[in-house]
């Protein structure tokens, strides 16, 4: 009995001795380690935002974001960490840096399982650079890579969606809404890109879109008939550009919507179209 007590006490004493030493050393090194890790992280942020002075972590829908500030406390960008989307071969984890005007600064693929030699082009600088400097609107014009269409369109879609979420949550970004009722009567030409460049003519009467005609296009004929006139009818019916583009020919449909947006934007800028018909 006495023996067991002695063994227990010895072990306990050794363990307490060990715990005290570790506690002392830990309280000394912990702040140094934390500071070093912070510096290492700032160093990696500096690759995207050279002026970084401070950052603040925010959570949004289960993802972690760092809001990056410069010396004078201005928000200069947002970094999304360990974001994930579903690529061709499985989940892709990436880091995304967006500046304060919602333009892409860069991204970094942390892990992926895309096909080597094809889909892994998403990790290559030549593909990455297609995104650099692109604003939210311009992201629609990033080209996919043939042979890796699924992998590349997946990352384009993911980055576009994430940039939009970041812009709305952190950057006070407001999508420009076109007030159709302010557009003078007339017929306006607008240009955009479906699969290929296209142009439409939009006729506005009494603040309402009454007619949308595609005047130039080079889309795949069998797909184009799926999108037009269906998408035009949807726009005219809802009097809104925020329509469902799922028609079986999403690219063509999106192209038409963008053309109409372009036409109306120009019409508002000019305060009446060159082809305006009410000047007699």
């Amino acid at each position: 009995m006495r023996n067991i007590l002695r063994l227990t006490l010895t072990l306990a004493a050794v363990s307490i001795f060990s715990a005290v030493i570790l506690a002392v050393v830990n309280s000394w090194t912990e702040p140094i380690i934390a500071e070093r890790q912070l510096q290492d992280y700032l160093e990696s942020v500096r690759l995207y935002f050279p002026d970084v002075a401070d950052f603040e972590e925010k959570e949004l829908e289960g993802n972690l974001f760092d809001l990056v500030y410069d010396d004078s406390g201005n928000l200069i960008g947002v970094i999304g960490k360990n974001l994930e989307y579903s690529g061709y071969g499985g989940p892709v984890v990436y880091t995304l840096a967006v500046d304060q005007s919602a333009a892409i600064v860069g991204y970094n693929i942390v892990s992926h399982s895309e096909t080597p030699g094809l889909g892994d082009i998403i990790t290559k600088p030549e593909f990455h650079d297609r995104f650099v400097g692109k604003t939210l609107e311009e992201l629609d014009t990033v080209d996919t890579v043939s042979g890796a269409t699924v992998s590349t369109s997946a990352i384009i879609g993911a980055i576009r969606g994430m940039t939009e979420a970041i812009a709305k949550a952190f950057l006070d970004y407001e999508e420009e809404v076109i007030d159709i009722t302010q557009v003078p009567d007339g017929t306006y030409r607008g240009e955009g890109t479906g699969l290929k460049p296209m142009a439409v003519e939009v006729t506005v009467e009494a603040g309402r879109i009454v007619k949308i005609e595609v005047v130039e296009q080079d889309e795949t004929p069998t797909y184009f008939v799926l999108s037009y006139p269906l998408i035009a009818d949807r726009i005219i019916e809802t009097q809104s550009l925020d329509v469902d583009t799922a028609t079986g020919a999403t690219f063509s449909a999106t192209g038409i919507v963008n053309c109409v947006k372009d036409a109306l934007t120009k019409a508002l800028e000019q305060g009446g179209g060159e082809e305006s018909e009410d000047d007699e």
Partner: protein, 211 residues
């Protein structure tokens, strides 16, 4: 006269650790870290010195406590003491040498189960006075460091064509365009290099008639 002979014993303890009882080339202990981290000289040196620090500290503490630790629980006590010093070394490396810490990786916590340290605790520190245990720790620690130094220098020069890479004193031994024998920086090369060095030490020791 007595102090003189004491001094001799201590010096013998040190030289015995480096030469006759060299842990790597004579006792062939602690092979896992020896083979794994010796790709670059700086890693080998870091590993050797870290192990030496742990060995010296644990030898001293274990020897000081040897009368109070009952036989039945000596192994758990030794392990706790060794693990304490390993964790201390780990925290210090993480704070002040993060690059070395990253390079050595899992082999730092694995110093806990390095058989050199537990072996010295069992064979020496658990029976001998504090001062002799201290010098035994210094000797064996230096022996381990010297062995890793030789092995990693050999592997780095042949396997990567560099010397002291990742430090301010990095040198390309055979010039930048030299194509190194990459196998020596691979695990297989570690065995080959260690085998050659073991053979070489055996030949030398036989020639010098050291037991």
């Amino acid at each position: 006269m007595k102090t003189m002979s004491n001094m001799n014993i201590y010096l013998q303890d040190i030289s015995r650790g480096i030469v006759r009882d060299n842990p790597t080339f004579r006792l062939v202990l602690g092979m896992c870290p020896t083979l794994a981290v010796t790709v670059y000289l700086i890693n080998g040196l870091g590993m050797g010195l870290s192990t030496a620090v742990v060995l010296i500290c644990s030898n001293v503490v274990i020897s000081a406590l040897r009368r109070y630790i009952p036989d039945q629980v000596r192994i758990p006590c030794y392990i706790v003491i060794i693990a304490t010093f390993v964790t201390v070394v780990e925290m210090l490396l993480k704070a002040f040498q993060p690059k070395l810490y990253a390079a050595l990786g899992v082999f730092i916590p694995l110093i806990v189960v390095n058989c050199i340290i537990l072996g010295r605790a069992e064979a020496f520190a658990g029976k001998k006075p504090v001062l002799r245990s201290l010098f035994d720790g210094i000797g064996i620690g230096l022996g381990f460091t010297v062995s890793l130094f030789i092995l990693s220098a050999l592997r780095e020069v042949i396997g990567s064509g560099t010397f002291l890479a990742d430090t301010a004193y990095a040198v390309h031994v055979f010039g930048e365009s030299f194509e190194p024998m990459a196998v020596f920086s691979q695990p297989a090369g570690a065995f080959i290099a260690l085998g050659l060095l073991l053979g070489l030490t055996n030949v030398i020791f036989k020639k010098l008639k050291i037991d």
